[in-house]
Symmetry: C2
Subunit: 232 residues, 2 copies
DNA sequence: CGAAACCTTGACTTTAATCAAGGTACGTGG
DNA sequence: CCACGTACCTTGATTAAAGTCAAGGTTTCG
């Protein structure tokens, strides 16, 4: 049912400035492309917010990224690894991939950005507990939006949860915890103000005590790096 | 201490076939490059296994991938996002990035493979429990090694743990659990045989239909996709 | 005003981390 | 060759964290 609507909307695209680029509008909640679609180019966010998501077999969703103004997404070749959807009303600039040599450097750049974005997602998911993940998520959002204090969170809690590998309950409780500890304040569930950046960064990096405790463990990393004291 | 050894080894590189490529040998445990190093090219695995890892502030390690014969790693530009280390003795082919137009299509290809690898890592970490993650890890290793039944696991359990976001204890217990359930067998901790592929896939949550699912994902996504029943 | 979607919180359960102890494989040197 | 040390692996008991179940509250919009 949704699919035909998207096709319609795609048909309604308007030619952009360069022939190679096209500007598209999507409304909140609309699908930009489906997981498994044949890929014929990538997108850049002009305004609004976009999410990409993949589905596990049990229906459980993994959001692989949120994309803000200037971010690129959907750079994969062949088939779409993840679906893309508009979190808010959004304007996108579309770039076609198969355009040959002229395009290759910009495609390269887009690929690099996509890789960076993927690495950021890995780094978020690699954190060990909910506090770290949510704090890091908020700080990243603040940085991406270039809004040092005020962070709009137009995505539902379920999006944040599926991005961080948590449940909406844990996300909600964690955010409430931050409010209780005076790290942030909420103006409604969709608007967050950071009160104590330092404190939030400390949480994101892990509580101080835990970090110290780990240093005393005599660097598990260096051990792991040279498992058998291999000499070079 | 390790660094000087690596530099020495780098000095000992031998010119390869095409001038643009060089073949390098690393011994088990050696560092290929450090996180934060300036990037001047990427690598392809000729033989052996390589891991890439990033470190969180607390010293906690995140392995972002294992790379087997034919895999590319270290494709990022600017500075290395992650360190790379030889899990086993390894032979690598080195590709220089700044070589201009001729190289750009192969760099593009390498970037795409790197992105795929990152996505796989996200998909592993996105799984909800230890059973799913370990089972998926084993299946992926089997597939990558093109060894349908016998999976060598030359990396220590700590590597697997840091890759999957678990502890070595949980990894060990989970593997033991699979053995107890008759899904796999171990010939020593570093050699694993899959007894019941179907069963393991069922545990991983990624049944044979997974590939198919990806092709027509319209169903389950449309629910999540239209949180407010937005009409197009 | 009512409905729908979304958010928060409390009580309880499950899962994985932590703490602690042994066990195994393997290389080194006596 | 065997004893020893080191790194690595496994397992049991306990604790901490996040998931689940359940209920009620808030926001938004028609």
């Amino acid at each position: 049912m949704g699919r035909s609507g998207v096709q319609e909307l795609r048909a309604g695209l308007r030619p952009g400035a360069h022939g190679q680029e096209i500007e598209l509008r999507f409304r909140k909640g609309e699908i930009i492309f489906f997981q498994g679609d044949r890929s014929d180019g990538w997108f850049e966010v002009v305004s609004g917010i976009v999410r990409t998501c993949r589905f596990h077999i049990d229906g459980h969703r993994q959001l692989t990224g949120f994309y803000y103004k200037g971010d690129a997404f959907g750079v994969e070749c062949g088939r779409r690894e993840a679906a893309a959807e508009a979190v808010t009303n959004a304007i996108l600039s579309r770039h076609f991939a198969a355009a040959g040599e002229l395009e290759s450097s910009s495609q390269n750049h887009a690929l690099e950005r996509a890789l960076e974005s993927a690495n950021q997602c890995i780094f978020l998911l690699g954190r060990r507990n909910a506090n770290e993940r949510v704090a890091a998520f908020l700080l990243i959002a603040a940085e991406r939006l270039e809004s040092p204090e005020s962070i709009p969170l137009p995505m539902p809690r379920s999006d944040i949860a599926d991005h961080l590998g948590l449940t909406i309950h844990t996300v909600s409780r964690t955010i409430s915890g931050f409010v209780r500890r005076g790290l942030i304040e909420l103006d409604g569930p969709q608007m967050c103000r950071i009160i104590d950046v330092e404190g939030l960064m400390a949480v994101a990096g892990e509580e101080v005590e835990a970090a110290i405790e780990r240093l005393h463990t005599a660097g598990p990393s260096s051990v792991a790096v040279h498992p058998r004291g291999e000499r070079l």
